[in-house]
């Protein structure tokens, strides 16, 4: 439902009475709608959706000249274990951009997805200047930043650790040994002063100046963020273990994030003329001395990111109970509707296919360069280009994909560093389905002669990139080929799940998604948990499938072999072979077409390397087609799935015809300028 567009908070000129009436009507409608929606969904937003193990209060001030964030934070952590815990671990991910020695820089060679530094000092980093434990009494009585005598200084207990690669120069994870262990179920509160220096944008974090000299910042991974303490039985910690342990990974070139659910109260101070967008909901705003401080609050999220810029235009829209806010670069203003339409498609389909979106806000940001295409809770960066044609739907793909991460990452908060496919892959699968349903045959590229669907992109990304290399179930920093991470995290899972859909049917797949969501939202599911849901919902042990394509690198390629047609008396004996040309096994159907236009379908378990089929009929076999309904998307070569007894020349003739015309046109054109 489109209510109004706002530009710099100025709504279009509507008569006041009309506006008031509209506003009242809107409030009534939204309340009615949202209560209806919440009631249907069974989610009550006022109560805790997650177990909220952490709570952050942060005050942050942006210095646009130095590109730094000066911050203080008070973070509380509740020990979920049955034993006392004497250590805290934090991510200091901005240190990935501190120098060339960090693990991120070593693994990425200083460039991320094609973006690298363009200025003399592109470096970033985060420095913790003070860390102290706040006493239980002071926690509620002392304001943030007001240190009390009873605070226990623990700054000198901070040490950098490198749990993944022992790169001593990497400073993206710290461990803090506590003077006193936190008893089971008890909460510790730590106050931290820090200064974050933003890098020139890399890996969807940092600053960039536009041509008109206005500053844009995407402030992500910017504060000391606790790792996840996993208790026995949680994820891969054995249930029989005597204690849990911290799961805190270094920042790798390919890895993303993992943190615990909790609440955030964040005050952000920026120059007065800057617009701010952030995770959660803006609950307050103050202006003083040329600076604006906005307060954001978010509950049941596991990260907090924000953006600010002097050159944003702001638009608003509404989808059921969700307030949509778009911060867009002025040069892209013609694409406001495209952003909102895509976001609403995402909201509608994810709501239908997976489950309700429980938050009340979604902020869409049209960032600059390497800041785009990223997800944070209730906050996504999309990205487009000036005059992007409507038939190139890159903007829509990214917007729907990043919104999908509100589910697969946001609420189903798997460990992205260890099992990236659970968020990127499942999300790519659903994004692909949505794009192709919502936008049709040419969902991604819709040019009259060349229509490319999102499903084509996903399949192509898998089959064209060495399908036998890099298992999906691999830690993101352990892929040996650089392109394997992208393939195994995005394209291959989408192709694998589409093949599973072909095997189980969409309704079952949808049930799997809904069950996975309802059982694991606001938790940290693993691959094992997803498979367990799939097995239970489908009523079938699907390990044979997941072992091959999630844990293994099996490759599917079936082909039609020889076809023979012989007359024996009045009978015509038609014989053909089907070959399994690689190690992947899938049950499949085979369709045999006969000269009279009839066909017969056969089912084969696909296990043998060669299988011969025969027909004795009064009519000759004309064509054999493996997987005629195109259900096995994992088949890396479809061209050999089909074979005719007598070749057909229509396509070749049309190719000849087209070639003649194109070449004649080309030569005629060339002759007019050369």
């Amino acid at each position: 439902m489109k209510l109004s567009y706002l530009i710099h908070n100025q709504s279009y000129n509507v008569p006041l009475m009309c506006k008031r009436f509209t506003a009242v009507l809107f409030v009534i409608l939204v309340l009615a709608q949202s209560s209806l929606c919440m009631g249907q969904a069974g989610i009550i937003p006022d109560s805790s959706l997650s177990d909220r193990r952490v709570a952050y209060q942060i005050q942050a001030q942006l210095d646009p000249d130095l590109k730094t964030i000066t911050g203080s934070q008070r973070v509380s952590w509740r020990n979920p274990d049955n034993v006392a815990v004497d250590e805290l671990q934090f991510h200091l991910y901005l240190n990935a951009f501190k120098d060339t020695l960090s693990t991120f820089m070593k693994e990425s060679n200083g460039a991320h997805r094609g973006f690298s530094a363009t200025v003399e000092d592109p470096w970033g980093g985060i420095e913790v200047s003070r860390m102290s434990i706040v006493g239980e009494e002071e926690r509620d009585s002392t304001p943030l930043g007001g240190s009390a005598e009873s605070d226990t200084e623990i700054t000198d207990r901070i040490r950098f650790i490198q749990p993944d690669d022992q790169n001593a120069s990497d400073q993206t994870v710290i461990s803090v040994a506590l003077p006193e262990a936190v008893p089971p179920g008890e909460t510790i509160t730590v106050e931290i002063d820090f200064e974050s220096k933003l890098p020139e944008i890399i890996a969807r974090t940092g600053w960039k100046k536009k041509d008109n000299d206005s500053l844009f910042v995407l402030v992500a991974q910017w504060f000391p963020k606790l790792g996840v303490y996993e208790v026995p039985g949680q994820r891969y910690v054995p249930a029989t273990a005597s204690s849990g342990s911290w799961s805190t990974h270094q920042f790798h070139a390919n890895s993303e994030f993992y943190a615990d659910f909790g609440s955030y109260e964040v005050d952000i101070t920026v120059p007065e003329n800057y617009l701010v967008g952030a995770t959660g909901e803006m609950v307050g705003e103050e202006t003083a001395n040329g600076y604006r401080t906005v307060r954001y609050e978010a509950q049941d999220v596991h990260d907090f990111a924000w953006t600010a810029g002097g050159d944003f235009l702001e638009f608003e829209d509404q989808w059921e109970h969700v307030s949509l806010r778009l911060l867009i670069q002025p040069e892209h203003v013609a694409q406001v509707k495209r952003h909102f339409d895509a976001a609403k498609i995402g909201l509608t389909y994810f709501n239908d296919w997976v489950g309700p979106y429980p938050y009340s806000t979604l902020t869409l940001v049209d960032g600059i360069g390497g800041s785009n295409g990223m997800e944070y809770p209730t906050f996504i960066t999309c990205g487009t280009a000036y005059k992007l044609p409507k038939w190139v739907r890159a903007l829509e793909v990214v917007t729907i994909h990043e919104f999908g991460h509100q589910y697969f990452y946001g609420m189903l908060a798997s460990n992205e560093a260890e099992e990236a496919w659970l968020d990127e892959g499942i999300n790519s699968y659903l994004e692909m389905r949505m794009m192709d349903i919502a936008y049709g045959e040419g969902a991604v590229f819709d040019f009259p002669w060349i229509r490319v669907a999102d499903s084509d992109v996903q399949r192509f990304g898998y089959v064209a990139n060495n399908p036998s290399s890099g298992a999906i179930f691999t830690k993101s920093w352990e892929y040996t080929r650089s392109s394997d991470y992208g393939k195994a995290s995005y394209f291959k899972p989408a192709t694998v799940l589409s093949t599973l859909e072909g095997y189980l049917g969409w309704e079952t797949m949808k049930d799997i998604m809904k069950t996975y969501y309802s059982e694991w939202r606001f938790k940290h599911p693993t691959t094992r948990d997803f498979i367990d849901v799939a097995n239970r919902v489908s009523g079938e042990d699907l390990d044979w499938f997941f072992d091959q394509f999630i844990y293994g690198t099996h490759v599917v390629d079936y082909a039609v072999g020889e076809i023979e047609v012989n007359e024996e008396g009045e009978e015509i004996i038609s014989t053909f072979t089907v070959l399994r040309e690689n190690n992947g096994v899938m049950p499949l159907s085979i369709r045999a077409y006969f000269a009279d236009g009839t066909h017969e379908d056969l089912i084969w378990n696909g296990e043998e390397e060669k299988k011969t089929f025969s027909f004795a009929k009064g009519i000759a076999l004309e064509e054999v087609h493996i997987d005629p309904e195109d259900k096995i998307w994992l088949d890396i070569n479809r061209l050999n799935n089909r074979k005719r007894v007598t070749p057909e020349s229509k396509f070749a003739t049309q190719s000849l015809s087209n070639s003649l015309v194109w070449l004649q046109q080309f030569f005629q054109f060339a002759s007019s300028i050369f």
């Binding site: 061209l639 089909r642 020349s649 229509k650 049309q654 015309v661 030569f667 007019s672 300028i673 050369f674």
Partner: protein
Amino acid sequence: MLGKSILEGFRLIRGRFRLAVLVYALNLLLVFAVAFPVYRIMMESVGATGFGKDLLLEFDILLWREILIENRDSLQQLLWTVLLVIPVFWVWKTAVQMGTIYALHQGAMWSFWPGVFTHTGSGLMVGLCFLPLKAAWVVLTFIGAAFLQTSYFSGEVGSFWLMAVCTPIVLLTGLAILELYQRYARLALVVRNDRLVQALKVGFVWPQRHSVISLVYLYWYGITAGVFLFSMFVNAELHVGTSYVLLALFIQQVIMLGRSAVTVGWVGSEVFLFESTLVKKEARLVKSEQGA
């Protein structure tokens, strides 16, 4: 003058239609050398699969990938053939142009082939003189565009207009102007039997002195662009049918015959303009210069 020369062009299309057929046939022959291997490759790789019907109806990026991989060697050979055809085409185009000018000069009573045999050599010399100029224009345009982008238009909007709009327009306009000069140099070779240097002088000077030359050129350029777009439209529309492949081939070739007829009309217009008007005007200009 403009109207007359254009009308003369259309009259010649009608009057020398066999010449248009000849030009069309020669062009077709040349491109057939490249297009036929495409037929062979598609027949071999798709004909036996049964996917032909699907590919006729829609683009399938995955099947195309397999076709390209399966025929990598044949396609490499095809690419070499295309590269070899480029210089052949350059000579060919010159020969056709010289033959057509010859056939259409002095009342369009001449045949095509003597013009080809007599004037192709000198036509090529003119082409060789223009080739470095055209190459230099391409290089200068890109250097200029790169300079402007880094210095003044590094932003997204500026870059778009500079690189996606202005640069191609400037590039093609410059090449079209040089082509215009080249055409008139070649006209001078055939119509006035000028020597190379004199012909080049005519080519560079006359179009600047007589604006009607550019108008005639633009007129026919517009018609060829229209034929091009119509052909592409027809190609797109015919693409959806599977039953009328041969009919589509026929229609497309009729359009291409039309395109060759436009070539004849275009050259005819320019020859008429050159002979009936410009030669006399230039003679008067020279006389008045000598008198002065």
